[in-house]
Symmetry: C2
Subunit: 239 residues, 2 copies
Amino acid sequence: MEVSIDSGRAGQRPAIAEVLRESIRQGMLAPGQPLIQASIAEAMGVSRIPVREALHALAAEGLVTFGEDGGARVTALAPEEVDELWTLRALLESHMAPAIVRTATPADVAALRELVVAMDDLEATAWSDRNFTFHQELHRLAEMPHVADATGRVLTMIEPYSRVAVTVLQEQSEAQAEHHQMIEALAADDSDELARLLLHHSHRARMALLAYAAETAKPVDPQAVATAAARSLADHLGA
Amino acid sequence: MEVSIDSGRAGQRPAIAEVLRESIRQGMLAPGQPLIQASIAEAMGVSRIPVREALHALAAEGLVTFGEDGGARVTALAPEEVDELWTLRALLESHMAPAIVRTATPADVAALRELVVAMDDLEATAWSDRNFTFHQELHRLAEMPHVADATGRVLTMIEPYSRVAVTVLQEQSEAQAEHHQMIEALAADDSDELARLLLHHSHRARMALLAYAAETAKPVDPQAVATAAARSLADHLGA
DNA sequence: AGAGAATACAGTGTATACACTTAAATGCAA
DNA sequence: TTGCATTTAAGTGTATACACTGTATTCTCT
């Protein structure tokens, strides 16, 4: 998504699609949750038109699904889909490993190491945020914008599920240990080891997540979350 | 005036993004060409609103790029980007090969063989159309919807360049020969061979295309194509 | 004629208004 | 109470209208 869909007015900063994407990624908008145009528009202080555009963009990214009735919901993934996406993530990340090792400068490695060290003592939510950033920074080093884009899309789609793995399934410490190993592989110019670590990173998380995915793939109670979208968004905008 | 009074019907809605995507994929809308909302709206007989939504969706897919001035253009890829996307295509297609071999029924193979045979004597444009279909059908067999989606996006992005390779660089006969080999590999349940063929298929095309990509990546003369979008679209809609 | 200022234009962004669809709520009859 | 028809509400799709921006074009003055 290198294309910023920023509006003509530079002053109206928080691009709507951006806020929605982040809200979905961070789990503020749960999978299956209806996305009512008018509610979102009101929460963000705009009309429905730019909201519609954002929803269509997110639908093209797979984050939002338009039902047969025309209503948009946060895409809910079936367990097999989560599994497929984690496998795809592994494929794409390990594909980038050689390029990452090749192009990474000592300064890049130092910056990544600093990032990882700073994550050591974070609690689950903050750690998940940094985790996403860490992987994105890693991808950026490969200098393969389209592969990184595709990978980022996959990461974003599975992030809500990944977060629960971190929170519920205690994945954080093992993942963090692997992050440190990745830094060492990177510092040692060992692309095979980096690729191996990235594959294993996804593989372990994938296994841990299948159980949770089976849980969340169940239909979400619609009435309980009817207006939650606007509220979550308003909170997020206030922050 | 046509009979359709069905404004606000779901059947009409996907048409706009669909038509634009197909027009871009088939090269009717050339890379770099400006996409003027009002022109497209008039050509398709709708207002700018649904056109905007379609453009944003296509931008999220990477087919359309919004410039700093807010204007949308058909995304023009630099040679390195074309190269990256062909490599990514090879990765994704070969990743699906085992699943394709595993799930393909004899009827699937027969249908694909029929499709390939029917392509034998087609001229470049018609062949390119069927070529796209052939690969999409192949991907569908893997039963990996998200991988197939990502692959389809990549195929669509590189298709305008691929078409010129077929037309200008005489790639058709070699590619077609490889298609036949793929069918045989599929019939023989040889997933390694299918993966190898898919890798080689992209690799050869990628090499042939780099030269052309360098050509087309140059900025397109804007004034010569100013209103061509509407005309091409009108023609396509009439067909 | 040429340089600079004022104007017209082309294009975008978005708010408002209205048509349509579906589903829920309501009311009435049995 | 239940079943059914009718009305109401919620939500979406899109056309129109207006505001803004940058660019070209024209006009004026020297």
